[in-house]
């Protein structure tokens, strides 16, 4: 059978949607990271229930906790951006609305992810 795909198309590996498998793969990677970090986070928050303000600050200041919280926020927001993007692509058919809502999801998820990370670092480096 004759192959209609050019050598360039094959090398790019982007397929018919011109997006490749990056989105799919990143969604799976962040899913596994989220799974592990959410288990850690749930156990931590449960054992911290009822803790006073000073204990919470002391907990966040632990370098390992600072790193894991930063990773959790980054991974969760990247994952939810990828997920909401698919929902919008599936259900919003009007081209202008689709583009607007996709941009909004991208910007807002980046904004809140960075806000969360900056706040964690502020606690960690604060006096």
């Amino acid at each position: 059978m004759k192959d209609f795909r050019t050598p360039l198309k094959k090398v790019e590996g982007l397929g018919s949607a011109h997006a490749g498998s990056g989105h799919w793969w990143h969604q799976r990677l962040t899913a596994i990271v989220n799974l592990l970090l959410i288990v850690w986070f749930a156990v931590s928050v449960v054992t911290l229930a009822g803790a006073d303000y000073r204990t919470l600050v002391w907990w966040v200041k632990d370098p390992v906790v600072t790193v894991l919280l930063t990773l959790l926020i980054a991974s969760v927001f990247y994952h939810l951006k990828l997920g909401l993007q698919v929902v919008i692509e599936d259900y919003v058919h009007d081209e202008a609305w689709k583009m607007t809502s996709l941009l909004l999801v991208s910007f807002l998820s980046a904004f809140f992810a960075l806000l969360g990370i900056v706040m964690v670092l502020k606690i960690s480096f604060g006096g």
């Binding site: 799974l35 928050v45 449960v46 229930a49 919470l56 926020i73 997920g83 929902v87 706040m119």
Partner: protein
């Protein structure tokens, strides 16, 4: 030029409900609800960063009856998304794709989400000295 009215493929309300579609829809719905949980997470760390007075305000809002109800709903959504997410990861490896295995796993995933949620809340109340 007038638009030709082509027949559309049947949408959600046409099909009889079955476990596979219910889990798929639950995965999306719980994912969207979990995004609210991510915003609460950012609010929580922000509240700690902004000092004890602001944190007390955060506590009074999220510790109220409505606040706890929202938190319980978010916990349930995250746990449901976690369970149905494991289903998707297993499906990616070629498992759970047969009609009977796809239907059989459903109740266990739902039960798992409920049990995990109750364990988290019972644990939290226990460590807070209320249970």
């Amino acid at each position: 030029m007038s638009q030709v009215q082509r027949p559309l493929s049947p949408h959600l309300q046409i099909w009889r409900w079955q476990m596979n579609m219910a889990l798929s829809i639950l995965h999306r719905a719980s994912g969207i609800a979990s995004a609210l949980g991510a915003l609460l997470l950012v609010w929580w760390v922000s509240a700690i960063a902004l000092g004890p007075d602001y944190y007390e305000f955060f506590r009074s809002v999220m510790g109220s009856f409505i606040g706890r109800l929202v938190l319980f709903g978010v916990t349930l959504a995250v746990m449901a998304h976690l369970m149905t997410g494991i289903r998707h990861l297993l499906m990616d490896t070629g498992r759970l794709l047969e009609k009977d295995s796809a239907a059989r796993i459903g109740p266990w995933l739902l039960l798992g989400a409920l049990v995990l949620t109750l364990v988290v809340w019972a644990g939290a109340y226990h460590f807070a000295g209320l249970l």
